[in-house]
Symmetry: C2
Subunit: 199 residues, 2 copies
């Protein structure tokens, strides 16, 4: 094989991650392999392992970028709405983001290779996302205790996760005629009504 120009490690590293995302987008998670990435960046599969320790390291790094993109999307949501509306917007944004990038979602939550431990940024990213939800919940129902808001946030997210996971496996339409968005909206509405029955 004719060798490509020598290139510093960091440069190849980004090329690998870009290629990985392209392949995920184009062929789905089952089309992603070390050799496929190598072909795409013009290197050999062995070169991948000079930069990343394992295939699952690459996936985790792609996941980190995915989380960053998701946070940017959420940060761009309109802020001059009542809390309940913003909660709905946030949930729908999450769902439609995952719907727009099914392979990225699959990399995030789908292919459960025996993932032993999760990196520290993983829990932090989730905490940030949950923080926004909790904050909005408390803005909507002023008297709400923080721990209860936290628990409600977690329950809401778990429900949304269930809907998106099922949809991504093409199982949701077997179970129900409701869309993931409708389910999320219903669960959220049920919560909001309970928290603020009158106004």
């Amino acid at each position: 094989m004719s060798r490509p120009q020598r290139v510093p490690r960091a440069e190849l590293r980004q090329a690998i991650l870009d290629a990985a995302r392209d392949i995920l987008d184009r062929e789905g998670v089952s089309g992603l392999s070390a050799r496929a990435i190598a072909r795409e960046v013009g290197y050999t599969a062995a070169s991948i392992y000079n930069v990343f320790g394992s295939m699952s390291d690459i996936l985790m790094e792609v996941n980190r970028e995915t989380f960053v993109e998701l946070e940017k999307l959420i940060a761009g949501l309109p802020a001059n709405e009542p809390p309940s509306a913003r909660l709905h917007l946030l949930c729908q944004a999450y769902i439609s983001f995952m719907r727009r990038n099914p392979a990225l979602w699959n990399a995030l939550f789908g292919g459960t290779r025996h993932r032993e431990t999760f990196p520290e940024w993983y829990a932090e990213a989730i905490r940030r996302l949950f923080g926004q939800l909790t904050h909005l919940l408390m803005a909507h129902a002023p008297g709400l205790e923080p721990e209860r808001a936290q628990r409600l946030t977690e329950q809401l997210y778990v429900a949304i996760h269930g809907a998106v996971a099922l949809e991504s496996d093409r199982r949701l339409d077997i179970l129900t005629s409701q869309s993931a968005g409708e389910i999320a909206a219903s669960v959220l509405d049920a919560m909001l009504i309970r928290l603020k029955p009158k106004a």
Copy 2:
């Protein structure tokens, strides 16, 4: 390899399924392979393909048996309780069944090999499960319209699925300190309270 005694197709078929479940139990879904099954039943990998068309056919057949077992478990639940208590029992039974057989759950919902279509019994099994939930919901809130009960059932199940899926990926404890059972109970309670605010 010394050949085993010749045996009718149907006999080997069941041996394969039993071996598959044993392996799933023992080594998890990543330890399951055609060659592993063959080793277990004392045959060659090629023999597996005289009986089943593909590895994913075997998994689907295991899944069917799993569903049957789950239904038996549910059928054995105490019936002389008020509907709300029976709903809780059903949800907890579902969760603890999946917790007791994590690899079977993983085969059911986890490893999403490009599963093109689902067999007809799949939708039927779900319909039966959902039917019980819907029935109990309507028994609890007599005035409830069937379509609404159906939608609530679906939402409840999706939430439970989310919790179990996350727990099975060891991600639930990253998101929350609540257990899958607690989350399911909370979501169910929220539903029941809304349906019957006074008593």
